[in-house]
């Protein structure tokens, strides 16, 4: 375990060193990531400022859901979601083969060498939005915080599952970075209160493809009004991770090349 952490830290160090070759672009990119993250809350802000609202949710409660979502994305994107673009890039240019001969698991190497320093801007954006929203709602008690952290960890489990699925696609669907768009379009459902969706969609995002856990479910818990079927969402999150892993393995077995 310590060895794995050391390896991950080394990966982060190397990625930062490489990125520093274009410092100006790096800092602009971090700043831009921060701005990009502000787009969704901006829409919510403008909706509320125009006098409209999402029924049953005030602006800061709605922003808190999005803050939790961005926080979850802000942790997963730099630290492990880079396995997606790393897989696509390596399979496309043939360097995926190099990972097969390393004395570590291929998946671990994909994560380690896929650290994305620019995405730290996402994390910063998530922290800012979460903090601003939190400052404008009644401060939650310890019990709510503990439940929130537990559910937030489950949201990272789901993000990891998505990372595995998209990485699996990257092995067989050569050079297609648009798999990210598939993820974003589906994950969008987790950024809004579930009560705005139809019953069928709610069942789908809580029990089948548990994207509700990415924002809505943990945020509801923190607000002290737990979402219906939270337990089912947690169970389906772990089932989702397990199935994602099986999917990645199956795609990995289908990988073939002519020597890089």
């Amino acid at each position: 375990m310590i060895d794995a952490v050391k390896l991950h830290l080394q990966g982060i160090k190397s990625a930062l060193a490489v990125r520093m070759a274009y410092r100006a672009d790096f800092f602009i990119s971090i700043f831009i990531m921060l701005l990009v993250e502000a787009l969704v809350p901006l829409v919510t802000y403008l909706i509320y400022k125009s006098g409209a609202s999402l029924p049953g949710w005030n602006m800061y409660e709605a922003l808190l859901i999005q803050g939790v979502f961005l926080l979850s994305r802000g942790i997963s994107f730099p630290f492990f979601f880079g396995m997606v673009w790393n897989t696509i890039l390596r399979v496309q240019d043939g360097t995926f083969d190099l990972l097969l001969i390393k004395p570590r698991s291929v998946l671990q190497m994909l994560i380690v060498t896929g650290f994305d320093s620019e995405d730290l801007g996402k994390l910063l954006g998530g922290i800012i939005l979460f903090s601003v929203s939190l400052a404008n709602i009644p401060f939650p008690g310890l019990e709510l915080w503990l439940k929130f952290f537990a559910l937030f960890l489950v949201s990272l489990v789901v993000m990891f599952g998505f990372g595995l699925i998209l990485s699996g696609f990257g092995i067989v669907w050569i050079g297609n970075y648009r798999v990210y768009e598939i993820f974003f379009s589906i994950a969008n459902f987790g950024m809004y209160p579930a009560n705005i969706f139809s019953k069928g969609v709610i069942t789908f995002i809580t029990a089948v493809l548990p994207v509700a856990i990415l924002g809505f479910v943990p945020a509801s818990q923190l607000l002290g009004r737990p979402a219906e079927g939270t337990l089912i969402t947690v169970v389906s999150s772990f089932v989702f991770l397990f199935l994602s892993f099986l999917f990645w393995k199956a795609m990995f077995r289908r990988y073939n090349s002519a020597g890089g």
């Binding site: 990119s29 787009l39 379009s185």
Partner: protein, 273 residues
């Protein structure tokens, strides 16, 4: 003169055909839009249906008008999409641009032809399926108020987004890697062009600023021309007037490109790329 025109037309045809063929190999990548576009739109349907559940209008728009706005925005987006900034930046960074300095035609002409070839493929892979999906599955009225002005406005938007992106790509001559700047521009453009939400939802003083920026002509104006009425920051204009203004912005952007290119090209150095 006749020979020059024929030569330019040959280049036009050959580049479009080559780009079309090249991207046909990746048509499944493009087809991702058929899933992504409607799913994004479905989320918008739920959000705005919830917002409108306790009111008739938001900033003067009804629910039907709001959904129509997003529907038109999506389909127009497939027609005008552009990646010329990224292509130019890659060529500068890798040194591949040097080969274009040796060719007997301008790079911008080649890039424009490439864009046309790319979008022609998108026409049947992205635009047509999604158009009919929105029309029949979501019941969105995607019939333009006036076909001539709509086509003209979309064409001008096609040129404007190409020219603005190309100018961003030109900054690669100074910055070498312009990914950050490109993203910054995209964010600014998406917000101020009306991609995220209708510009009339912004506070009035911001609408007044947006009125004088070129970005509204990329998305907001073609959508309003499609709908058949234009209004921003309390300013109403007839469709021919706003399309005329759009054409002026295209000319201004072309002049900006000319100046930038003139300065930038002197900075380029490449060895045997």
């Amino acid at each position: 003169m006749k020979n020059i025109c024929k030569r330019q037309f040959d280049i036009f045809k050959a580049t479009i055909f080559a780009t079309y063929k090249q991207w046909t190999a990746y048509r499944s990548h493009m087809a991702v839009s058929v899933l992504v576009g409607p799913v994004f739109f479905l989320v918008q349907v739920f959000i705005w249906s919830a917002v409108y559940s306790n009111r008739e209008t938001v900033s003067g728009l009804t629910l039907t008008q709001m959904l129509t706005y997003y529907g038109i925005s999506s389909v127009i987006g497939y027609l005008i999409y552009d990646g010329s900034d990224m292509d130019l930046q890659n060529l500068i960074r890798t040194g591949g641009f040097i080969t274009f300095m040796l060719r007997p035609f301008s790079y911008i002409y080649y890039a424009l032809c490439q864009k046309i070839g790319h979008r022609l493929l998108a026409l049947w892979v992205e635009f047509i399926p999604i158009y009919f999906l929105f029309l029949f599955a979501f019941k969105i009225n995607l019939v333009p108020a006036n076909l001539f002005w709509t086509l003209l406005s979309v064409f001008l938007s096609f040129l404007l987004v190409f020219l603005t992106n190309f100018c961003i790509g030109i900054t690669g001559f100074w910055l070498t890697k312009t990914e950050g700047l490109r993203r910054a521009f995209q964010v600014l453009r998406d917000i101020t062009a009306g991609d995220l939400l209708p510009l009339v939802l912004f506070p009035v003083f911001i609408q007044k600023i947006l009125f004088f920026m070129p970005f509204q002509f990329i998305t907001y104006v073609p959508i309003r021309v499609f709908i058949g009425s234009y209004e921003l920051a309390g300013i109403s204009m007839s469709i021919p007037e706003i399309v005329g203004l759009q054409a002026i912005y295209v000319v201004i952007m072309f002049l900006v490109y000319k100046v930038l290119w003139h300065i930038a090209i002197k900075r380029f150095t490449g060895v045997g790329a």
